[in-house]
Symmetry: D2
């Protein structure tokens, strides 16, 4: 692939990423492959891994064993060693900058990580029948981030080839699925001078040819992990000597769901994963719960988070246990700005293949692009999260999810066109 | 080793078993090694695996993968293939019979399985320093069943060499740690004509040289596993579509501990292990709890069991889940008969190395030797569970547990002597 | 007071009702007083008590002792015996009909019951300083229903005196505070031919001079009472013989709050009152919880109600208790129709004293006027719930609540004017 | 009645007390009646109310309204005013002392309070048919304390008439049913020099003619009341502003029953009474639970008490409430001394009407005579709690309980005889 890559090159790039899905903070092959491509372009700046991240804001960083395993796997798959070395410790992701004269600074954020889902091997699943099914068994690009990264590259080429005046910053953000990477990029420094930010997502139950100018309805979210520590005891001989970590976890779980609803808007709570104990006849010394709270606004999420911590800590105290609560991922709420929605809508109307344009739609879930959007908006800028429909046979996060590759072309045209128009209009 | 093995042969036998600890129903190497030894003796009958077990009464039988893995491991460790084949499917254990003229039928039951505990490698741990530490990493004879099997062999030799008149049946019972094998042996047929039964345990916090003539205070116990099935849902987008298996498990756990105390005696309840769910943002579709109930009497255990099942089923219903409850292990209560205690005490008084004799002591835990004891007592026979003290550096079920091998000799003398005396006195 | 009562007569009427506050289904004095007034008017029909109610739809009817007590109290306060007799059994409320030629049938619903709150006796509380404080100690018109009934009478007079053409039906509904009377009036028959319905409320945190043309945001609600019955036992001597009704109630309460949030909108749950047991040393035989569930839509309320019943029943089963669940009050959600809002707004603009007009506002609570609104809308009619601001010193349902009596005049003008206009425009 | 009262006088005395049952700390009539009788005897000392009590150790003292009501009721029933005045504030009870030369000090404790139970009015209930049914409707001597007080008086007369040498102290203890008076008498000073203490109870499921020489198996007990305070809120409009006291109480209740069983012996826990909240649509501001913990030993009770307080406090914290825990009654465990059992047994063998003598039996419940027994034993003395069988038609604490009055005679003979023998033998 070279500058202003032909569409078939973009498709093979996407399929290469699809064959090598990597989970959060372990996007070694993916980042190396992206940087390798970026180096063939005429860029004004190229930032790799730690250069785009606020190290302290990274959340849910996996342990060294897991990082090492995926690092080796990337090397074995042919990733360039010189790039890999720059990503050591799980500092993945990259950013590219084009400076094209006077004008505003416009950012585009795409995400690059995959999911711990085993991809379908059925004949009617295109990646399987076309030979680009996941080679990392048990992991899969089941949310289209392979397409996102590819669209980013296509937009870069299109902006470079256009009359755009201003500065264009393209962010390849790691660890979105864990909502663990957004804040590290938002606080990484490179976003500070961005005047307008776009982010995008394919699919979201919209068909190929449909554009959502600005997605709203992001639920602010916080992931937590609580580890309870009690004291073990033989459940038959000395039950009173145990401080029961399983009972503490059960009490916490019961009461977390009972946190009061809030009149200011929607909230959510879930204990998604729980575990504890070692044997039926031992009072459990250790247990854990992993869960999340959400809110229609950031304030509502924080209300839930504060109440959740009180509940968890009291459940530990109640059963003479201690507890360690860590935040494993977090994202605020955000709204797409109307002025950008209008531009995206206007541009989309002129893009071939666009058949339906929605001004707005609710996500109903969470995304840590909101950290970047909020950062730009807090500095007086504008931001929008654009939905680009794609015919996806299976739902998001299922083993038969796939992207209609025509979407890649439409997305590049819509986003690159919008960037050009934003630079001109400076709304 | 050959008939009437010298003590050093018994010690090496014990150490060989110690090097090859195997968990419940997977005592392939252990059984093969025992049978190999038994075949060198002049026996009147030798029963292997399925020949001693009531197949339907086996509990907590592991899945085929696990059985296969340990079968192969036993073969790789040098177990005789012709014996292994007779144990296929996890039908482990063996029994030997001596017929020595007219007289009562006297049984001895020893157990042979090990625990999922990683053995200490420290220098002050004798098996480590003497070179017979576990070769099955993660598993360990941490409750002395290697010594029990060895004592069984020694008693067999001693009885064979004595003036004993009657029939002696020696049972090598599998799967005691899971209290999953006792009922299968009790109902296996071979016990039906046993008039007197002895069982034994080393240690139990008694030092070398101390004998407990008859252990009592066995808590009847029942192990359960409850698997809850609900419906998954995205916890942010569609929480109401979930039927929350984690919440059902938490509710069950909370309420299990709340089962009323009973005025007839001590009861116990424990949820030792719990787990559920797949991701923080998914309402858990599946969860499980593993636990146990106990009672000072079998009736009290059954009271707890019945209440526990009601609680678990109601917790499932409450959260629109279903639940599958299985009993994974079970043992009744039992008492050692006074007449046998008296004989054991009298014999012990004449055994070299015995320094302290206790008539009785409470186990405070559970044991499925009680199934065999109860079976014999229900048929009009007598039974006793003999404690043979041993200086054990670490507690039972800990990684530094070990047996003072002098105990093996004392136990053989006490048990063989008692068998001889019982045959003579027929109390 | 006589036909087309002067304002001062209306004020004394309101103050008389204020002095005699009566709780749900026990509005004997209030109804008698209203009927006495209505009989002085030239009506085409007058319905009393059972004539306006579907007997089977009355909810939360108090026991005979309470009905008798308030009946006697009303008699003692001077209520007309001939009217009281028609209200026997707690069939309170009344309706008046004016037929004024061809035209649509237009209804107005006002409510008449009071609350179990002790009224302030402080000098700065006008009813106290002006001498019309509650004479039924412990009960109080703390939500303005005394003003509502008075406004109803004023509107009747105004409509009678106007050029109105059509039929006007005025409903004095009992038992709104318990949301227990609305459905009985809605299904009582008199509403079946109503084409347009207005209801009204004073205050709601809006000042005198402010009109809300159509209140929305009614939460559908259902009140429940669950009575658990177990078995008593001496908690020390025979705890296992108890079936613990207190524990069942506690389990139900815990799990009711844990009913999943719903992605379709706001829900609520509350266990407002609980009680159980007789002595510390007795396992409780009986307990109860009283609570409510709400939903932003009727469907959401029904989702909560169904889940709540499952939770309550499972909690009883879990603890070997039985439970009897009764619905003690209920109201659907509803929306004010835009066409009526527009008319109310236009009319209000011409009413003296109106300084601010809001098209709409959310109630955020519940009201059983929604039963009547829904009944009319289901038959193809239109309905609106009008808010008439009043300067109220204390909040609704507090002991210092009071109504600015100027509001009565404004409300009569706005409502009577709107009725006249609706009859003319027939939107 | 006068010194050495004939049996018929004792019967009428008992029936008079039976007609005037009074609850804990409100035994005004009862105490006055006892003191009136004592004053007719030739005593060496007579102590009334506050003179026998450690004021700070009184537990569960009722509020002034209740004290006043029962004080007035006693006056109205004819109690002597001069005595009543000495009991003001609920300082009830009395003690009498006989000094009869050199010898040990021997105490007898009887209790005098009644229960909040409505007495049967059926013809087959002797107090009803014989005309001495309770005149304090809703209260009843349903545990035989009327007989206990009478036996005390009879023993006093018998000791006075005997050859007894030593000091005899007779304690009429108030407030046993609430286990709230024992410690106040134990610490009141008069017990400090007692060498031997007897206490007694009629019935306990033993028939007339059966004597239990020394009751054991007292469960130590502690009664608690926990009052939770949160913050109220409208459950529909602002649920998040509530701190839910009902939910705190439910969480506490759930988890109290889950306190771990103890291997040292029997424990108990019960939440006997609960209540909270004011309306279905208000988040409850206040709630309470009343309950108890027990233990086979005082240490076990204290283990339960400590865990209970942790659970209750954590439940409050969990739901942002505060809690106030008070101990409302308490009694330690105790054992009857063998030496006294022997004497009681020997004496009983010679008493007319005694047909069966049990050395010991377990109470299985709690009693605060244990405070007095423990006090004496801690000072080096001996104590025993004697059971005197009586044919009681209904169970203790039921509305048909009654005492076979022949028991009074037997009890006097057994107890007075034992006192005489103890003084002689000084075991």
């Amino acid at each position: 692939m070279s500058r202003q890559a032909p569409f078939e090159d973009l498709v093979s790039f996407r399929r290469d990423l699809h064959r090598h899905p990597e989970p959060a903070w372990r996007e070694f092959y993916t980042t190396a492959r992206i940087v390798d491509e970026l180096e063939t372009r005429d860029l004004d700046a190229l930032y790799v891994g730690p250069e785009i991240l606020a190290a302290d804001e990274r959340m849910a960083v996996p342990d060294d064993d897991s990082l090492d395993e995926w690092y080796e796997r990337a090397r074995a798959a042919g990733a360039r060693e010189d790039i890999l070395e720059r990503l050591a410790g799980g500092f993945t992701g990259a950013a590219a900058v084009l400076e094209r004269g006077d004008g505003p600074t416009i950012g585009l954020r795409v995400d690059i990580d995959a999911l711990p889902i085993t991809e379908s091997g059925e004949d009617d699943h295109v990646p399987a029948s076309e030979g680009f099914r996941s080679e990392n068994e048990g992991f899969m690009h089941a949310c289209g981030h392979d397409a996102h990264a590819t669209i980013g590259l296509g937009v870069l080429d299109a902006v470079a080839a256009s009359d755009f005046e201003g500065t264009f910053k393209l962010f390849f953000q790691p660890s979105e699925e864990m909502i663990a990477g957004g804040n590290a990029v938002a606080k990484g420094g490179l976003l500070d001078d961005v005047d307008y930010l776009l982010a995008l997502h394919v699919g979201l139950d919209h068909p190929t040819g449909e554009i959502v100018c600005g997605v709203d309805g992001f639920l602010a979210v916080s992931h937590f992990r609580a580890e309870f520590t009690g004291a073990p005891a033989h459940a038959g001989a000395k039950p009173e000597e145990g401080n029961n970590a399983n009972l503490a976890a059960a009490t916490a779980t019961q009461n977390l769901y009972g946190i009061s609803r809030h009149s200011d808007g929607a909230t959510r709570v879930n204990v998604g994963v729980m575990g504890g104990g070692t044997a039926t006849n031992i009072v459990a010394e250790e247990s854990f719960i992993e869960g999340e709270v959400r809110g229609e606004t950031t304030e509502l999420m924080e209300y839930m988070e504060e109440r959740a911590h009180t509940v968890i800590e009291s459940a530990a105290t109640m059963h003479d246990c201690t507890v360690d609560i860590s935040v494993e991922g977090k994202a605020p709420s955000a709204r797409s700005d109307d002025a950008l929605k209008t531009i995206v809508g206007d541009v989309s109307a002129g893009v071939e293949g666009v058949e339906s344009i929605l001004e707005s739609d609710d996500l109903g879930g969470s995304e840590d692009a909101t950290y970047l959007m909020q950062h730009v908006q807090d500095h007086g800028g504008l931001a929008a999260y654009v939905g680009v429909g794609t015919d996806h046979p299976g739902g998001h996060h299922t083993r038969t999810f796939d992207v209609d590759e025509e979407t890649i072309r439409i997305a590049i045209d819509v986003i690159a066109g919008s960037i050009d128009r934003i630079a001109g209009e400076q709304p």
